[in-house]
Amino acid sequence: MEIALDSGDTAWVLISAALVLLMTPGLALFYGGMVRSKSVLNMMMMSFGALGVVSILWVLYGFSMTFGSSKGGLVGDPTEYFGLSGLFGDRLLGYLDDTVETVPGIPALVFVAFQAVFAIITVALISGAIADRAKFSTWLVFAGIWATVVYFPVAHWVFSFDGYVSEAGGWIANTLGAIDFAGGTAVHINAGAAGLALALVLGKRVGFGREAMRPHNLPLVMLGAGLLWFGWFGFNAGSALAANGLAGLTFVNTLGATAAASLAWLIVEKVRDGHGTSLGAASGVVAGLVAITPSCSAVTPLGALALGAVAGALCALAVGLKFRFGYDDSLDVVGVHLVGGLVGTIGIGFLADPGAAAGAEGLLFGGGVDLLVKQTVGALAVLAFSFVATSVIGLALEKTIGFRLEKEAEMAGIDLQEHAESGYDISGVSGGRFGSSGAVTTAPSAKTPEGASA
């Protein structure tokens, strides 16, 4: 069939790409506020570092690995669109010798831009599991290797539909036929499993489970959660790749599920701890956003409310698991993204309503277990692959260039050690002056951190 450029669709996807890009700085604020003041900058820099590394790889070969011609449904051809060659000009989305039915009328490069920001935030999400203790240079190396070995292939499995960019796409989208509208598997289960693996490889922070590690700036966390929610409308409704009713449904579901999850988290806290907290409300927002990401095309707005409530309550309970099992997933990437991603992805198997855009039938809507099985297989495949591959990458980096910061430097504060900066200068009595002399160093070295011996 003939595809024509649709300027309305194109405009919406371009705007959505910018919305999703804003999620990564938003995540930096969300994560940054949750750590102690001595590591706020490093926490934010891990997100900004991912922005740099992954964007470049996406242009070089990332898009091609994700959307190039499939090698057995497992990975795209990295050379096909190397440097985005062959995608310039007026080429629209859709396989060149197109025989397949409907493809949105947007330029291929607009799709490149939209998918790029998904790759970036997925890598950035992992950083929350290893707060305060990862060498920044090794993190950047990890970001590049992980995107290449884990994200690009998994995104190919899930997002590369036959005929969109190449004739044959990935196995989860086309062969298995599991539903993942905007990335419950490729983004959230993927990042959550990777976070768990890295938290285990790097080990616990000094003082974990003993010292109070209070969030140092909850207003930053709230601002970050707000920006994430705002950007997430691009993530979900933009994934319609068109300005149409599907975008409308996914938009409304993104509103409802998120609101329900935030309130559900607060109710769990009120019952269990006695108070509903601002951190709980912000965390519930993210849990709901995660859960509705794969499912926003497959459930009705009422289904979205139910799914969000379940996700908010389950994630509120899941964040306590790290203390029971003794892994230091510092900012709960597992409890929120892995658990929320599983709730959303597998929840489709129960709550998919044939009246919604995807037209799929879940167990509760007379569809039997068929869809539930597909969703579970897709979720567990991504979980297992990500966990194993990330463990190997993490261990290899730890054994070669070193991943974990030295203990003394971690206690003195990773901001000083890795970036030679302090997040805050509020007192104004630090006694600084311009320039350096031989008497002082610009930053404490790893060997002799100032104050660590005291």
Partner: protein, 112 residues
């Protein structure tokens, strides 16, 4: 001369300051402090993890006074800082050998 130091609840500061001014005290130094006495700290809960916060925020008020005023100044602070609830703080008095006003070089009571 005496140095009267009071550790009080932060929200009592304005009352204490106004009462000291009314008594005729011409200056004071105030700093933020953290600590605990019999009150101990309080607990905070973040994502279900409970933390005990031992050092709670207090305000330290320091006033230099002539010997004859010391008792009265302690009384003024006591009356205005007291809420009767746990965590009201402490007041103590120590002797001061000399005081110098930096601008003029005056010593002793003249410098107060």
């Amino acid at each position: 001369m005496k140095l009267v130091t009071a550790i009080i609840k932060p929200h009592q500061l304005d009352q204490v300051k106004e009462a000291l001014e009314a008594y005729g005290i011409s200056g004071m130094t105030v700093s933020e402090a953290s600590g605990y006495g019999r009150q101990r700290g309080h607990s905070e809960v973040y994502r279900g993890a409970e933390y005990t916060v031992d050092f709670v925020p207090k305000v330290r008020v320091e006033v230099l006074v002539d010997d004859i005023d010391a008792g009265s100044v302690v009384d003024v602070i006591l009356k205005t800082a007291q809420t009767g609830r746990i965590g009201d703080g402490k007041i103590w008095t120590v002797p001061v050998e000399d005081v110098v006003r930096v601008r003029t070089g005056e010593h002793g009571v003249e410098a107060l």
